[in-house]
């Protein structure tokens, strides 16, 4: 039983790290540009499908880890420049409708290109199998995902806390007007921020694909969970996104042990109870 629980905790951490990556992008875009990005789930699905195509072409999964995030970043930045940019400062409902329109159009495009039925996605051969650690067997692929996502999260933390671009992001989340008064080109920062957010979303799609397979609606499904994650963690907070993602992943995988049918609902139960105790979320910095 303890073995099972430990394995499940590990699964929860891996799942949680995927949520962390997604929530981070959602939270940064929200805090910075005040846009609730409904297309965020699309980039997750896009990442997974691009990985499918790139793996088929190149024959190697590891190429995707570099190529796909770049591709989704380019697509994201193009969308930001051509569509989203026109909506800054407008009523939030317009932004939601716009990003939702992008999400539907993109999802249907995926269905047209790849068909409505999901596909299985083979784990890269190099990472199949299990490794025993203290008598418990861990799938190598998941260990790899956990290590990579943790590194990436640390890297993001470093960028946000220690670099100039990061300090612009943090300042922009606090007070955008002041930042542009200081002479910083906000337009470029927005495009770059959106690019980074979509790159991370694409990468998490790549990493999640071998664990769950790919289907056109995977973006819709995960988006709802990401909203809950951001609400739990608090808006525009990096540590909040990490805490929220891990809490969501762990509670989901642990409840699966006891009551599999409630594995998604528990996320929202956690969300509602945290909101009752702390309306701004765990680490929220702004209303």
């Amino acid at each position: 039983m303890t073995d099972l629980i430990i394995a499940q905790v590990f699964n929860g951490l891996v799942l949680g790290m995927i949520y962390v990556l997604l929530a981070m992008g959602l939270s940064i875009v929200w805090g910075m540009m005040d846009i609730i990005n409904f297309a965020h789930g699309l980039f997750f699905a896009l990442g997974a499908y691009l990985a499918f195509t790139v793996t088929a072409w190149s024959g190697s999964f590891f190429v995707c880890l570099l190529v796909v995030p770049l591709a989704t970043a380019v697509i994201g930045m193009l969308l930001e420049v051509s569509l989203l940019r026109r909506l800054y400062g407008q009523n939030i409902l317009y932004q939601i409708l716009m990003t939702y329109g992008i999400a539907i159009a993109g999802r249907e495009l995926i269905v047209i290109l790849y068909g409505p039925v999901g596909k299985s996605f083979d784990q890269p051969e190099l990472l199949t199998g299990v490794i025993p650690i203290a008598g418990i067997f861990f799938p190598i692929y998941r260990v790899f995902v956990f290590a990579l996502t943790s590194l990436l999260t640390l890297g993001m933390w470093f960028v946000i806390e220690k670099t100039r671009w990061g300090s612009i992001i943090r300042a922009g989340t606090e007070n955008l007007k002041m930042v542009s008064c200081l002479g910083i080109n906000i337009t470029g920062v927005f495009t770059l921020t959106f690019g980074v957010a979509t790159a991370i979303a694409g990468l998490s799609g790549v990493l999640a694909a071998p664990m769950r397979g790919i289907e056109p609606f995977m973006g819709d499904l995960i988006l709802g969970i990401c909203f809950a994650t951001v609400v739990i963690g608090g808006m525009g907070s990096f540590t909040g996104a990490v805490a929220g993602g891990l809490i969501v992943g762990l509670s989901q995988s642990l409840v699966t042990l006891v009551m599999p049918s409630a594995s998604v609902i528990i996320i929202f139960v956690v969300m509602a109870s945290i909101l009752l105790l702390r309306p701004r979320g765990l680490m929220g910095i702004r209303d």
Binding site: W30, D34, I36, L83, R86, L87, Q90, N91, I92, L93, Y94, I96, L97, M98, Y100, G101, I102, A103, I104, A105, G106, R107, E108, L109, V111, I112, G224, I225, F227, A228, V230, V231, M235, S261, A262, V264, I265, I267, F268, M271, A272, L275, L276, P279, R280, D287
Partner: protein, 340 residues
């Protein structure tokens, strides 16, 4: 009573009921203009939900993105009542409306703790929560298969012979009565002192607070009222389609209702009806020609937000001003849109 007084009384009556009379006349003939009655019914019920949301958005400035929860919960509540409890049509509607407003009270209480985009995100998250509950609690909701076998009850008023509502036209007129009554109530609310407070909150919440209004209480009340009317729409919709499915609590419905209000023009009450007409008709036509019609809807959403933000009326005004070569800074409805 002099003749003059009499005419002025008629004038006052006409002033108050004119919109209802106009609407009633229009919707009486409506099903005969459209290719089939069911389409008219669908448009009318979504128009009701859209008008209810217009009360929230256009008059009170309360933004939310969980309309589907209120609509869909009423669909489920009505379906379950008809399946397990009673076949009384009024009881089914009442249970639908009450459960929708109860959900709206909870969501409203949570969402109004924050303001702006945070509040919208909270409503979104609760909308997703209700969707997932409906999805996973399949012993109650039928999950992805939905609830089937719902029978549309007959209309039985005490002491009168019961009237069959099985034909789509008779059910259309039955729901029309509810629609007109609801529209009248919503219009009364916007004209009442309560409605004036709502508009004050929309214009400037801090000032409304400074005068001494508990604005949060008013906003929760708006959630409950809006939720109740959306619930009424959902309840009637359930008996129209005789089916309950998780699609009705899905975000797509919320997005459509918001689109209806925005395309028609918010804060006008009539605009959302036009918007509902356009959106329902567009998706009906698009789904008839192409399996992947949702892509058309997605592109329509994007185009609408880019080019026709002020709604149909705002678009018309914009066209008019470019036609005349005058550069008027934004239409009034567009300004209202930015304001809220």
């Amino acid at each position: 009573m002099t003749a003059g007084e009499k005419t002025s009384m008629i004038g006052a009556w006409w002033c108050e009921y004119r919109p209802i009379v106009v609407l009633a006349t229009f919707f009486m003939v409506f099903p005969f203009v459209l290719p089939y009655t069911a389409l008219a019914n669908e448009i009318m019920l979504f128009a009701l939900a859209a008008v209810a949301f217009d009360l929230c958005l256009g008059y009170s400035g309360v933004m939310m993105f969980c309309q589907a929860s209120f609509f869909g919960v009423a669909v489920y509540a009505t379906a379950l009542t008809l399946l397990h409890l009673t076949s009384n049509i009024f009881a089914a509607i009442a249970i639908g409306v009450i459960s929708a407003s109860a959900i709206a009270a909870v969501v409203g209480f949570m969402a109004t703790q924050r303001s702006g985009s945070y509040s919208v995100l909270l409503t979104l998250a609760f909308g997703e929560m209700i969707y997932f509950i409906a999805f996973q609690w399949s012993s109650l909701t039928g999950g992805d298969n939905g609830l089937t076998g719902i029978k549309r009850p007959d209309l039985g008023i005490l002491g009168l012979p019961s009237i069959s509502l099985q034909s789509s036209l008779s059910y259309y007129y039955f729901s029309l009565v509810f629609f007109l009554f609801a529209f009248y109530l919503i219009r009364r609310i916007t004209l009442s002192p309560f409605g004036k407070v709502l508009m004050a909150i929309r214009e400037n919440e801090q000032r409304a607070q400074a005068i001494g209004y508990n604005t949060r209480l008013y906003k929760v009340a708006v959630f409950v009222i809006g939720g109740a009317f959306m619930g009424l729409a959902g309840s009637l919709y359930c008996m129209y389609i005789c089916f309950a499915h998780i699609h009705y609590v899905h975000f797509e419905i919320s997005g459509n209702i918001v689109m209806m209000v925005l395309t028609g023009g918010m804060g006008t009450l009539f605009g959302p009806i036009v918007g509902a007409f356009i959106i329902v008709l567009a998706s009906d036509l698009a789904s008839a020609i192409w399996d992947r019609w949702m892509i058309i809807m997605g592109v329509l959403y994007i185009l609408f937000v880019l080019f026709a933000r002020g709604g149909i009326w705002g678009f018309y005004e914009k066209l008019l001003s470019t036609w005349k070569g005058k550069n008027i800074e934004g239409s009034p409805s567009e300004k209202a849109a930015i304001h809220s």
